[in-house]
């Protein structure tokens, strides 16, 4: 299924941006992951970064030039012909100008910032998005697929070309879940579930890491997200069901130990290893939503609908 490309403001900037991006890309290697987005979320975040950087350059460059001229021209050296006005201490017109400069530049940044902040907080309309419940454990990542009933440790598989909803929590100190090429990070916090959606344009392998210090083995919390075609994704799920064992409560408790482990794969998992109820914020549609995991699987309930249930 093809995602609906969200037509929005970024496309108005495409030409100038393409030039800048082109410049940056040609100069820098693939290792500048933030400059090489592989999905729409990372893409719009990069667009904004570039717009803001350009607006900032508009003020940085003149200030630097002005400073240089001032210092050279008004050095206190014998024979300096520049004027000396010891009592010149104000000029209404000039002062108004430099209140206006930052206001204008910041407006240029602020408008798309607000727009994108709202846009990115909404999961694009998609039929049955894959949901992945992510739990950070002490120095490892647990991924559970409530829809597919599979679980993995330290790697995740996602279908390419469609939005994927990550629901983040922690059974550990706080971490952040971050796959730079797919999009920005979000905290995993105990006793709270936060939503984050990401999408990969194409199949590929994208590395992720925790961005928030959580103790001794924290620097090893790298993981890979493998994006595969939706068909391959279904096959992968099928294969896991055929080959892997289900996760037991003992398995889960072993994962809670303070250590690092390699990758693991499980078919199914105990349902009470992820918070059954959680408050989060606008993703699917409007307002707050609430998810409930129970024996019927998950119910996905926007808060505005709560009264109807």
């Amino acid at each position: 299924m093809m995602p609906k490309r969200r037509r929005g403001w970024p496309y108005r900037y495409v030409v100038p941006l393409a030039m800048v991006v082109g410049l940056l890309v040609s100069g820098c290697g693939q290792q500048y992951v933030l400059l090489h987005p592989a999905g729409p979320v990372a893409q719009s975040e990069l667009h904004l970064l570039i717009v803001a950087s350009l607006a900032m350059l508009v003020v940085i460059v003149p200030v630097f030039v002005l400073l240089a001229i001032t210092v050279i021209r008004f050095r206190d050296k014998p024979g300096n012909k520049a004027p000396y006005w010891p009592n010149w201490h104000g000029n209404k017109k000039l002062e108004i100008i430099w209140w206006i400069i930052p206001v204008v530049l910041l407006t240029v940044i602020a408008v798309p910032t607000v727009g994108q902040t709202f846009a990115l907080s909404k999961l694009p309309k998609a039929k049955d998005p894959v949901i992945i419940d992510v739990t950070s454990l002490t120095w490892k990542w647990l991924f559970q697929y409530p829809g597919q009933h599979v679980a993995t440790v330290n790697y995740a598989v996602i279908p390419a070309g469609e939005p994927v909803l990550f629901e983040l929590t922690a059974d550990s100190p706080m971490n952040t879940f971050w796959v730079p090429q797919l999009g920005g990070m979000e905290y995993t916090m105990p006793n709270e579930v936060l939503p984050l959606w990401l999408e990969a344009y194409k199949p590929g392998v994208y590395w992720g890491h925790s961005g928030n210090f959580s103790g001794e083995g924290f620097e090893k919390m790298f993981f890979n997200v493998k994006s595969v075609t939706p068909e391959a994704f279904q096959q992968w799920v099928k294969k896991v069901h055929q080959t892997a064992k289900p996760m037991t409560m003992t398995n889960y408790h072993n994962l809670l130990a303070f250590n690092t482990v390699g990758v693991q794969t499980y078919s199914n998992y105990p349902s009470d290893t992820f918070p059954a109820e959680a408050n989060g914020f606008t993703l699917n549609g409007e307002g707050m939503y609430m998810i409930m995991h129970d024996q019927h699987g998950i119910t996905y309930m926007p808060m505005s609908d709560m009264s109807n249930h």
Binding site: G29, Y32, L34, A42, S44, E45, L48, L49, S53, M56, V59, V63, L66, L67, T70, F74, R75, D76, A82, Y84, W85, W88, H89, G90, N91, E95, W98, W99, I101, P102, L106, I109, A110, T113, V114, T117, L120, S121, P173, M174, T176, W178, G183, G184, M185, Y187, M189, P190, N191, E192, L194, H209, G211, N212, F213, G215, F218, E219, F222, F281
Partner: protein, 659 residues
């Protein structure tokens, strides 16, 4: 061995403080201690130390003590930084272990903010503010001494953690639940919470003190709009302290309760909400970054005017922007955790408020440049810091704006881009500002100049070192390198940039060495300041001899213009030539008292006891706290008098009396 001795050794010296670096530090500390004790005893200086320093309430001496502490902590924090950077240059052969790295980045940040920047600021407040406003001392001299000793003993408590019991390791932000007992059983985090709580009481009192001082103690004629800009900055900073430290105190105390008394405010178990801590911390934390940058703004406003021989440009706009920064600073704290899912409306609001605060900040930059325009710029060390500050801070502010661009921050948060941003503003703004102030006011504090040539060497090393260190870190951020990792895999292309960054850090280290040499050399050979006005200054402190007599002003000046001293000089009416012997009056000054020192010591005992949960010691210390306070409350003998004759003689000796 008796079992309690074994218990003591195990608790105070667990094996993670018995590593080579720690043992080395132990030996060095012991050796330094022995040398100091030996020196004091041999020179018979104990009484001098007690009478002239430990019990003093003179703001000028308190300033010197703050300054010594700040530079010592700059050294400690700097050594920490070099350890961190060395590790990051050698990802395949880490020099220090992960455990140690975590402790070192924690003490680095905590010390630099709370025990370097803050006391450095208070050193300059104390050294300058009363002189600038024509006062004899601060509003509450005894409280001022208490503030200092609470800070000093708080700093001591954090610093001994390295060698006794183990250091905290949760970062200067100390986010739970990692600080909870489940993940962090040792005494380290107790040290962190208690030392900041104790120092925080002192800081809050300093805020009160300087707010009242600037509001109530100004010389006649110095209306609000005639105050030097540094005084405005002091006032705004004090007001920020007053309302920013309470949330920090609450956050620290709640975390400490979780650890010591089994509450669950922020714990993993029992439904604790770590995000509440994060809110409280940054409700303090963002105002704090302006607490440490407004005083440098004030310093630069004085330095730029003096060394351009020109009045500050746009004074009233500067006032407006300081005041608006002060208010706006309370309204931006959420930008430190856009990625904690507060929702788009909240994030958008705080993104906008953060951009809003950049406007008055940007305006000030233009005003500083236009102060130089049409002036005569003298490139002294103090002025060089100013010139380095402007471009450095502009870049820091601009990258701050990128971080305030909410969706971009999702990518940049907690990466080296963020690290580069805040060092850009903290070093380029705060540290450069404080060093500028130090070079500028040094003659006033100590009676001689710091050697300019050496000072400029130190400056260039700092400035170049800074950019070599932090420039590459922006790129590392774009390469996805996250903060607080002690090593990293080689495949990401992070290595080369880290090596460059480490080289830069050592260049800055060299700058520090040169600066210390500069200070020591100048103590002996520095050019004496005989006029009291070595820079052709503009504000009242330069009207006084250097160093300033104990009573500051023989006669309180009357202020008629904004740059009061400059104005007097223009009119040819200096304080020196207008003092007549018969005008001298007896002056009342605050009297020395041992209470502040003892109070600090008692708090230290409480803190140390609580760290190890030895409640008998806590009770002992608490009794000391109560005793000091009660004694102080009933001690009415607070003043001493300096007779008119003494003043006459002093001023005559300084050549400042007519006839």
């Amino acid at each position: 061995m008796p079992s309690f001795v074994q218990y003591l050794i195990r608790t105070l010296f667990p094996h993670d403080v018995l590593r080579p670096t720690e043992l080395g530090a132990d030996v060095m500390i012991l050796a330094t201690g022995v040398i100091i004790v030996y020196y004091l005893t041999k020179q018979k200086k104990w009484l001098y130390l007690w009478n002239e320093w430990l019990t003093t309430v003179d703001h000028k001496k308190i300033a010197v003590m703050y300054l010594i502490a700040a530079v010592a902590m700059l050294f400690r924090g700097g050594v920490d930084a070099l350890m961190l950077r060395t590790n990051l240059a050698l990802p395949t052969t880490p020099v220090i272990s992960d455990l140690e790295y975590n402790q070192v980045f924690t003490t680095h940040g905590t010390i630099m903010i709370f025990f370097m920047a803050m006391p450095f600021i208070f050193a300059l407040f104390n050294a300058v503010v009363p002189l600038m406003i024509g006062a004899r001392d601060v509003a509450f001299p005894r409280l001022n001494a208490m503030s200092f000793w609470l800070f000093a003993f708080g700093a001591l408590l954090l610093n001994i953690s390295f060698v006794i019991g183990g250091s905290p390791d949760a970062g200067w932000t100390a986010y739970p639940p990692y600080t909870g007992l489940l993940f962090n059983p040792g005494p380290g985090e107790n040290y962190y919470f208690l030392s900041l709580l104790i120092a925080g009481i002192g800081t809050t009192m300093t805020g009160v003190n300087f707010l009242v001082t600037t509001l109530r103690m100004r010389a006649p004629g110095m209306t609000l709009m005639k105050m030097p800009m540094f005084i405005w900055a002091t006032m705004a900073t004090s007001a920020l302290i007053l309302f920013a430290f309470p949330p920090l105190t609450v956050a620290l105390a709640m975390s400490l309760f979780d650890r010591l008394f089994g509450s669950s405010f922020f714990t993993l178990a029992h439904g604790g909400l770590p995000m509440m801590y994060v809110n409280l911390f940054w409700l303090f934390g963002h105002p704090e970054v302006y607490i440490v940058v407004l005083p440098p703004f004030g310093i630069f406003s004085e330095v730029v005017a003096t060394f351009s021989r020109k009045a500050l440009f746009g004074y009233s706009v500067m006032v407006v922007s300081i005041i608006s920064i002060m208010f706006l600073a309370y309204g931006t704290w959420v930008h430190h955790f856009f990625t904690m899912g507060a929702g788009p409306a909240v994030n958008a609001f705080f993104g906008l408020s953060t951009m809003l605060i950049a406007i008055p900040t940007g305006v000030k930059i233009f005003n500083w440049i236009f102060t130089m325009w049409g002036g005569r710029i003298r490139l002294t060390t103090a002025m060089l810091y100013q010139l380095a500050f402007i471009p450095t801070f502009v870049i820091g502010g601009a990258t701050g704006i990128l971080l305030a661009t909410v969706p971009a921050d999702y990518q940049l948060h907690n990466t080296y881009f963020l690290i580069a941003h805040f060092h850009n503003v903290l070093i380029g703004g705060t540290l450069f500002g404080l060093l500028s102030g130090m070079y500028y006011w040094w003659p006033k504090m100590f009676g001689h100049k710091l050697n300019e040539r050496q000072g400029q060497w130190a400056f260039w090393l700092y400035f170049i070192g800074f950019w070599v260190t932090f420039g590459p870190q922006y790129l590392l951020g774009l390469k996805g390198m996250t903060r607080r990792i002690y090593t990293y895999p080689l495949g990401f292309g992070w290595h080369e940039l880290n090596v460059i960054s480490t080289v830069g850090a050592f260049i800055m280290g060299a700058g520090f060495v040169v600066m210390v040499y500069n200070v020591v050399w100048s103590l002996k050979y520095g050019e004496k300041d005989l006029t009291g006005d070595p820079w052709d200054g503009r504000t009242l402190e330069w009207a006084l001899p250097s160093p300033v007599p104990e009573y500051n002003f023989a006669r309180i000046p009357v202020v008629t213009a904004r740059d009061a001293w400059w104005d007097m000089k223009q009119k040819g009416q200096t304080l020196a030539n207008s003092l007549r012997p018969e005008d001298m009056r007896t002056i009342e000054l605050p009297k020395n008292t041992p209470v502040p020192f003892l109070l600090g010591l008692a708090f230290f005992v409480v803190g140390f006891g609580m760290t190890f949960q030895w409640w008998v010691i806590v009770a002992f210390g608490a009794a000391g706290v109560v005793a000091s306070l009660v004694y102080s409350a009933f001690d009415y003998d607070e003043h001493k008098h300096v007779g008119a004759e003494v003043i006459r003689r002093t001023e005559a000796a300084l050549g400042r009396l007519q006839g």
